[in-house]
Amino acid sequence: MMGEARKAQEVFRATLREAAERAANGEAPRDPFWLFRAARDRCLEASEQGLQAEDIDFEEHEVAPWAASQIERLDANQLAIWISGAPDPQRTALALFYLDEFSYGDLLTLTELKPDELAKAISNGRQQFQGWLNTTVPHSEP
């Protein structure tokens, strides 16, 4: 979500601090996803401060059969930076989807998107990422 480990850690600590304070005051959140919601809100808030990435319209390409080999050549930071540059709610949808910790129902609840919107966000994200991959790590025929 942040594209930067230091900022992500700050968000994580601030979220935990808030959770601890709430628990100490007997106001422990009932929502099982509270921690994720709070962290996401803080991420979005933090990313609005400082330098803003330029809005770029990514070219969308069909997911290629060789996409996996292209992705293998990437560094995790490159992926993180790419996802953090996506507009929200697509950014949230992609970040939570690729964590692979949530069911479809959980994703809808967490992102507060309708089924069609979630499908579009993830699908477009894939195709835009494929477009970016084709530019950054072009597929070379063996």
Binding site: A5, Q9, F12, L16, A19, A23, G26, A28, P29, R30, W34, L35, E62, V63, A64, P65, A67, A68, I71, E72, L74, A76, L79, A80, F97, Y98, L99, D100, F102, S103, Y104, G105, L107, P115, D116, L118, A119, I122, S123, R126, F129, Q130
Partner: protein, 257 residues
């Protein structure tokens, strides 16, 4: 086949198909994936998603953060005490429903606890007793013991005898009628406490036709009326009055010789 050929709903679900099998929680998603697996682009999508997820898993987690996840629960919610649970409207509704169901079962059980062969007919005749007016009976002033002969002579009803415990009672009227099940019933009206006697055929086994026997006096009650029933020679005798079991008990506690 292409993903685009699936229905809109299935395509939407397939586009969000969880990367791990164990995250597929609902039937609709399972169905959509099963259809989507037949398409080439879904195979590419899955390979793409798995590769991205593998890359995500290589992101190092700082030790101080990993420490937080060493235990299962980061935030322990307020403990659910039984008082909180009891105040939950859903639990309350379930408890009330179970209580009502249990109550009905107990009522049914208690209701039929003292049932005996012929108790159904006896209860039905208590209803007759409550609605009978004396004018519909033929006036007969005699001792109850004498009615057995009358029923036999006039109506050919064998063994329609009043037991010794009630034989000395003075009658005001009597009649013989067919009840709603076609049983020949003799009804006697008495001077004593507006008591009524009923004599009716004992219940028989539907297969063998054998009389379903029971011994001694058995009580029944229905809508404020009480009856005490005895079976002899295939005929049931019932003494009935408005009141309760205790009002009839003195009559049958000491059998007369």
């Amino acid at each position: 086949m292409k993903l685009a050929q699936l229905s809109r709903r299935q395509r939407g679900l397939a586009l969000c198909a969880p990367i791990s099998e164990e995250k597929i929680a609902d039937r609709a998603m399972r169905g959509a994936i099963s259809q989507a697996r037949k398409t080439e682009d879904f195979v590419h999508q899955q390979a793409f998603d798995q590769a991205v997820n593998a890359l995500v898993r290589t992101i190092p987690i700082p030790p101080e953060i990993a420490e937080w996840f060493s235990t299962e629960h980061i935030i322990i919610g307020p403990r659910r005490t039984w008082q909180r649970l009891a105040r939950n409207p859903a639990m309350l509704a379930i408890a009330i429903a179970l209580g009502v169901i249990a109550g009905i079962f107990v009522y049914q059980f208690v209701e039929h606890l003292h049932d005996f062969p012929g108790s159904g007919t006896a209860r039905r005749l208590l209803k007759v007793a409550s609605s009978t007016r004396s004018i519909i009976l033929d006036p007969i002033k005699t001792d109850a013991a004498a009615l057995g002969d009358l029923f036999f002579m006039k109506h050919r009803l064998a063994h329609y005898d009043v037991p010794p415990e009630f034989a000395d009672f003075h009658t005001l009227g009597a009649r013989v009628f067919d009840d709603e099940e076609g049983l020949r019933v003799a009804q006697v009206w008495l001077a004593e406490k507006r008591m009524q006697f009923f004599l009716f055929p004992a219940e028989r086994d539907a297969k063998t036709g054998k009389v379903l026997d029971f011994s001694g006096w058995r009580y029944v009650d229905h809508e404020g009326w009480a009856g005490v029933v005895q079976q002899r020679n295939g005929v049931c005798f019932m003494a009935a009055l408005r009141g309760r079991e205790k009002d009839l008990a003195p009559y049958v506690s000491k059998p007369k010789q």
